[in-house]
């Protein structure tokens, strides 16, 4: 507790030279208040420690159960009813294809929408509606997006069920608000002087935005995009709605083939009765967490490397 980092917070009440502070009653009171102070601080530290202990327990149990199952066969195989043969490559490829569709749709759409709202939008009732709906979409439960995907993409437009195409579309709708919000913050952070300078030497508004503001805001936008994509990668509920729980023995060949995704594979295996699947589930969780850790690490790296403090 008494390390250097915490010393500034340790300042309790010191008894002063004044005689009134020296009475036993005053001393008791001060001691009581100092004890309350220490207790409060300890509770705060305890709250963090408890949360982190839960995290550690989760990770340790997954590692203990799953590390033995991580070998080349597991990483290169596809789903099977036999836990010894089953692997994650089929599901990982499905995740990859789904993420590709999501990225190709949500990134351009999100960035363009962010540019419009931040740089060009007039202050009108319409624009206010767009902003309100973006903020709300970012907080709508993911399962609702799954219902939308089922009703619109599959039942109305007749797209193939269980395919990375529909999964990617659904997740793109979910990810786009995240990208728009982070994109707007990144664009807002570019100082007005950059815009004024470009406009002053005769650039048009459009040239100013695309030649100067956007490149400067891009690291921030990319960070937000990666975080949004990481969230989409771990998402299961909306994909459950559009039927991406197919038992897929061969990896999907294209974005219209039935496929599964990594989190869905975890969910399907967790339901299996054979005891070998406990190891498989935990191993798949390790694979998924490594992917997520890599993506978040990349986002933090990008932020630290390219972030400009104006």
């Amino acid at each position: 507790m008494s390390n250097a980092g915490l010393s500034n917070a340790r300042s309790g009440i010191e008894p002063l030279g004044n005689a009134r502070w020296q009475t036993p009653e005053a001393k008791r009171r001060i001691a009581r208040r100092n004890a309350a102070e220490r207790r409060f601080k300890l509770i705060g530290l305890g709250a963090i420690a408890l949360s982190l202990a839960f995290l550690a327990l989760l990770l340790v149990i997954m590692l203990k159960n799953g590390l033995g199952g991580l070998d080349w066969n597991f990483l290169s195989g596809s789903d099977s009813t036999d836990p010894d043969i089953a692997g994650v490559w089929g599901a990982a490829k499905g995740s990859l294809l789904t993420m590709l569709v999501t990225l190709l749709l949500s990134f351009p759409m999100g960035v363009l929408a962010a540019i419009y709202l931040e740089e060009f939008a007039p202050r009108s009732r319409w624009i206010e509606w767009i902003e309100v709906s973006i903020n709300n979409l970012a907080a709508v439960p993911s399962i609702i997006f799954g219902l939308l995907g089922l009703a619109v993409f599959i039942n109305t437009l007749g797209m193939p069920r269980s395919s990375p195409l529909v999964g990617g579309l659904t997740l793109a709708l979910m990810t786009m608000p995240v990208i728009v919000i982070s994109g707007r913050n990144a664009i807002k952070a570019v100082p007005p002087s950059i815009r004024d300078a470009a406009l002053a030497i005769g650039a048009s508004k459009m040239q100013t935005v695309f030649h100067h503001v956007l490149p400067l805001a891009l690291p921030g936008i990319l960070t937000g995009t990666i975080i949004g994509m990481a969230r989409a990668l771990g998402e299961t509920a909306p994909l459950l709605m559009i039927g991406m729980r197919a038992f897929v023995v061969t990896p999907p060949g294209g974005i219209t083939d039935p496929s599964s995704v990594l989190p869905m594979q975890i969910f399907l295996w967790s339901d299996e009765i054979k005891s070998g699947f406990v190891q498989n589930t935990s191993a798949a969780i390790i694979v998924l967490l490594i992917f997520l850790l890599a993506m978040n690490g990349l986002a933090i790296y990008l932020r630290n490397k390219f972030e400009v403090r104006w």
Binding site: G5, L6, A151, S204, F267
Partner: protein, 457 residues
């Protein structure tokens, strides 16, 4: 097939137009000296005039072609043999289309083979007409734009106007998505409410879609037990875990921890928010639930179930901790420093300042954060699917298995029943309720946060 080729051809034509226009504009540039727009803008102007009208024509043709093909097939003599019954007729036509696309398909009905010939003919005929139409539109647009390449032509303004339209369309996607959600939920829920009255649905206390028959529909779809389970798990148990832990971590991180400690602890806490919910669900089912079951057993409960509201709620609460913590963090940071400085200067200890000054001042922000956390918890799916159970019951016992709105949505839609049964449609009605409740929570919370920030600015 042919139309995909057309799409590529249009893009190729656009590329050709781009280079041709740039070349011509450059010639003008060297000849005249001053121009309104750079050659590149002329190039984009022409390319856009080739691609955009052609794509619109392509999309329009894609939309009307199936109707034209059907009309042509019905006019064919072979169609006279089709049965009058619309169901089997549609089935044969669908099969004929599959054969026309891929000749190796094995037909279930021999008539389909005969029908596939006119289908294929009509396909190629209308495909060709469509391709011609698209080509004409592309060439006409490109040609018209090409004649406008002049030194004083404002190509840049035109292109920028086009880009602005694109930006506007991108931002309208958000509104379109919202309309899509509201529209599809209302439509499907409307179908459900034709069979079951909304009053029975919202106030009934028996949820048993499994044995719903047409004569007891009103009795089988009472959603109150689901609402109770959702509130009990998401808004009560999860919050009992998340609010104290999240709030105290925020207090510690903002008020006591040095900046180095904060720099390390905060990202570690955020990892909790980054773990996929399916992992939490598995952890809840594998580790947490058995612990609570054994605990319930040791309390003397008979046959404690593995799936319990407590396990799902506690794990969900842990998942929400970083969210509550960062919302409380923001709320505490918004309180002006002068307020806590004033309290400290009067001789209050830090904890007294926090309890008596900071927390009351930050309360609106914290309450809004808790509301957002609740809206997130009641929409959470995987943890309850894996750990909470399927039994719809009104119970106060946290060790009982309980079900939630999200669990039942998953349950209703992952079976194999036909899409229009009341059972399937009930999922959309539940989704509608969930959407409305989370929407109200979010709107109120965002408004409170906004007003709270303004109050201290």
């Amino acid at each position: 097939m042919i139309l995909t080729g057309v799409l590529l051809a249009v893009l190729g034509l656009g590329l050709v137009g781009w280079f041709a226009a740039r070349g011509r504009a450059r010639l003008l540039h060297t000849g005249r000296g001053t121009m309104h727009s750079m050659p590149g803008y002329h190039a984009w102007h022409v390319a856009l005039w080739i691609v955009v009208p052609a794509l619109i024509a392509w999309g329009a043709w894609q939309a009307i072609m199936p109707g034209l093909v059907d009309g042509a097939v019905m006019a064919d003599p072979a169609a006279a043999q089709l049965p009058a019954d619309p169901m089997s007729r549609a089935a044969i036509l669908a099969e004929a289309k599959a054969i026309a696309d891929n000749p190796d398909t094995v037909a279930f009905n021999p008539l389909s083979n005969a029908m596939s010939v006119p289908v294929r003919d009509a396909h190629s005929r209308f495909g060709l007409i469509g391709a011609l139409l698209v080509a004409i539109v592309a060439l006409a647009g490109g040609g018209w734009a090409f004649t406008r390449i002049r030194a004083n032509f404002p190509a840049r303004t035109q292109v920028e106007r086009g880009i602005l339209a694109l930006l506007l369309i991108a931002s309208l996607m958000a509104i379109l998505t919202t309309f899509g959600i509201v529209g599809s939920l209302l439509f499907e829920a409307g179908l459900f409410f034709r069979d079951v009255s909304p009053i029975d649905f919202l106030t009934g206390i028996h949820w048993s879609p499994g044995n719903a028959r047409s004569d007891n529909l009103a009795d089988s779809f009472g959603a109150v037990p689901l609402f109770w389970g959702t509130i009990y798990i998401g808004a009560i148990i999860a919050m009992i875990v998340a609010i104290p832990l999240g709030l105290m971590s925020a207090v510690y991180l903002t008020q006591y921890a040095s900046s180095t400690v904060r720099k390390w602890l905060k990202p570690m806490l955020e990892i909790l928010a980054g773990i996929p919910t399916v992992v939490y669900g598995y952890f809840a089912a594998l580790t947490v639930a058995p612990i609570f079951r054994d605990f319930a057993g040791s309390l003397g409960m008979a046959n404690p179930s593995t799936e319990s509201a407590l396990a799902a709620g506690v794990v969900m609460g842990v998942m929400i901790i970083p969210f509550v913590s960062s919302m409380a963090d923001d709320a505490l940071a918004a309180v002006p420093r002068a307020m806590s400085d004033g309290s400290l200067a009067m001789g209050a200890t830090r904890s007294e300042t926090i309890k008596k000054v900071l927390l009351p001042a930050a309360l609106p922000g914290i309450v809004a954060g808790v509301m957002l956390a609740v809206s997130r918890a009641i929409g959470e799916t995987m943890i309850v699917v894996m750990a909470a159970g399927a039994a719809a019951r009104l119970s106060l016992n946290p060790f009982d298995s309980m079900t939630t709105v999200t669990y039942q949505i998953v349950q209703m839609l992952t079976g194999d029943q036909e899409f229009n049964s009341p059972k399937t449609l009930s999922a959309f009605a539940l989704g509608l309720v969930l959407f409305i409740v989370t929407l109200i929570l979010n709107i109120i919370a965002l408004r409170v946060v906004k007003r709270f920030r303004e109050a201290y600015e």
